[in-house]
Amino acid sequence: MTSSPGFSAQTLSVLAALCAEPSQWQHGYALAKQTGLKSGTLYPILIRLADRGLVEACWQDEPQPGRPRRHLYRLTAAGLASATAALAGAARPKAAKAPRTRAVRGAVAGVVPWTG
């Protein structure tokens, strides 16, 4: 069962991770570490969010020497609004219960101030 209309618990955890610093570009590896998701779960979520215009992606300008260029992600304005609403919606009825994932727990405490 989705935790919020249209978003699964895993998607919410990705949104929460992106919401933590909405203006900053983030790497896939960093998002995977924050959410605890594997690449096979994380990237389909990012792809869907990008398709819906909630996440924007770009390539790193200056790659580290000897490393390939990395893909960067951040929320769009619409994505930030949707994410905040979805996280608040997920946090409100579940306030009495343990959040499902690390990132959602972080979101409840950090992104949605009235639940922290």
């Binding site: 594997k38 390539w59 219960k97």
Partner: protein
């Protein structure tokens, strides 16, 4: 490990080539991030996950793939079920094939229009696929069984035995084919009812929860498997339960009776007990009863569909395969006449599946209404 990483890289390279243009960046992105992972198993796991994502994306668009798969399956089923020259009621059989395929292709589109898109539940999606597969499998199986059941034997000795029971309307060696128009229309109405109910219950607008769909489908599959073990070739004395002596003391038969009445009641009680909205609050009583009834009807409907399609297909395969016939009669010396009598009995026995298709969901409806009405709301659950 290096070798595995190289193999994963090769797979990913091939998959990247298959990706649509708009998705290739994502393939490269996943691969680039692998360099950030610690070398060894973690990096390999990241790449394996990436290869999985790329494989899924390469198979897009899924709708096109699903449509192609359906067209291939429907084409194969229609080809196998198309009446042979000389079979009676050929027009009815042809109409049956065409109408069934059109129903399977068109009803989901109509359901989307009126009931909304399919539920995101995995059980719901699986149920739709199972329903479609069962109806398609039923097409050729039913044709083969009916053609055999209505065959007038060539040998006079066989005719003397068979014709008084099943009637022999055709010339020797010819089959009168399937049912007349009235029977065909009734069967199509039943197909529409099954498809319509399953499409509705697995749609978003029905508001049947994921747990209800999972409970109903799971109970139905369990009952279907037990019922198939009891009656793989119908319920006639000759054909029933070839492995165990059929009797009311047979534990499988007892289990089938328990599941027929107790399965939908238990599924309904569980679904009603778990009936909660996404916020975790208990649903109103009438909504919980609705969830329970949906689970019970799904349980017996799924079981009936499962056992009917599988049992009729098994019978059809047996009619086409002497090896399967002898396998079902292991330990017995089959004379040609005994084999024919056994086949005729099994072909005639499949009509019981039609009764199951009609009455199992009705029993499910009654038992689930009782089960759901007697169930209090459960404690708040962690998910629905």
């Amino acid at each position: 490990m290096d070798r595995l990483n190289r193999a994963a890289a090769a797979v990913a390279g091939a998959l990247a080539w298959l990706l649509p243009a708009g998705r290739r960046d994502w393939g490269a992105a996943i691969w680039a991030e692998a360099h950030e992972m610690p070398p060894g198993l973690a990096r390999l796991a990241w790449r394996a996950g990436g290869a999985w994502v790329m494989a899924r994306e390469a198979l897009m668009p899924r709708r096109l793939g699903r449509a192609a798969l359906f067209a291939a399956a429907a084409g194969a089923a229609a080809f196998a079920a198309w009446p042979q020259p000389g079979v009676g009621h050929a027009a009815v059989s042809q109409f049956h094939v065409i109408a069934t395929v059109l129903l399977l292709a068109g009803l989901p589109l109509l359901a989307r229009r009126f009931f909304g898109p399919a539920s995101p539940s995995r059980a719901g999606r699986s149920l739709r696929v199972l329903c479609c597969a069962a109806i398609l499998a039923y097409l050729p199986a039913l044709y083969i069984v009916e053609a055999f059941a209505n065959l007038t034997p060539v040998q006079a000795a066989y005719r003397r035995i068979v014709c008084p029971f099943q009637g022999c309307g055709g010339a020797p060696g010819k089959s009168t084919g399937g049912p007349p128009w009235a029977g065909e229309i009734a069967f199509l109405l039943m197909t529409i009812a099954y498809l319509g109910v399953i499409l509705f219950l697995t749609s978003r607008r029905s508001r049947v929860t994921r747990s209800t769909l999972a409970i109903g489908t799971g109970t139905g599959l369990l009952f279907g498997v037990v019922m198939y073990a009891v009656a793989p070739l119908g319920l006639t004395n000759d054909a029933t339960d070839p492995w165990l002596p059929g009797s009311t003391a047979d534990p499988l038969v007892a289990l089938a009776w328990i599941l027929l009445f107790g399965g939908p009641a238990a599924a309904a009680a569980l679904a009603a007990w778990r009936g909660r909205d996404p916020a975790g609050t208990a649903l109103p009583r009438n909504v919980r009863i609705g969830q329970g009834i949906a689970a019970g009807v799904l349980a017996n409907g799924t079981a009936a569909l499962f056992v009917s399609a599988l049992g009729t297909s098994t019978t059809a395969l047996m009619l086409k395969s002497a090896r399967l016939l002898h396998w079902f009669n292991h330990g017995h010396q089959l004379t040609a006449f005994a084999a024919y009598r056994y086949e005729a009995s099994a072909a005639g026995g499949t009509t019981v599946y039609l009764f199951m298709l009609i009455w199992f969901p009705v029993i499910g409806l009654i038992m689930s209404a009782l089960g759901a009405a007697c169930t209090p709301p459960g404690r708040p659950a962690s998910g629905n």
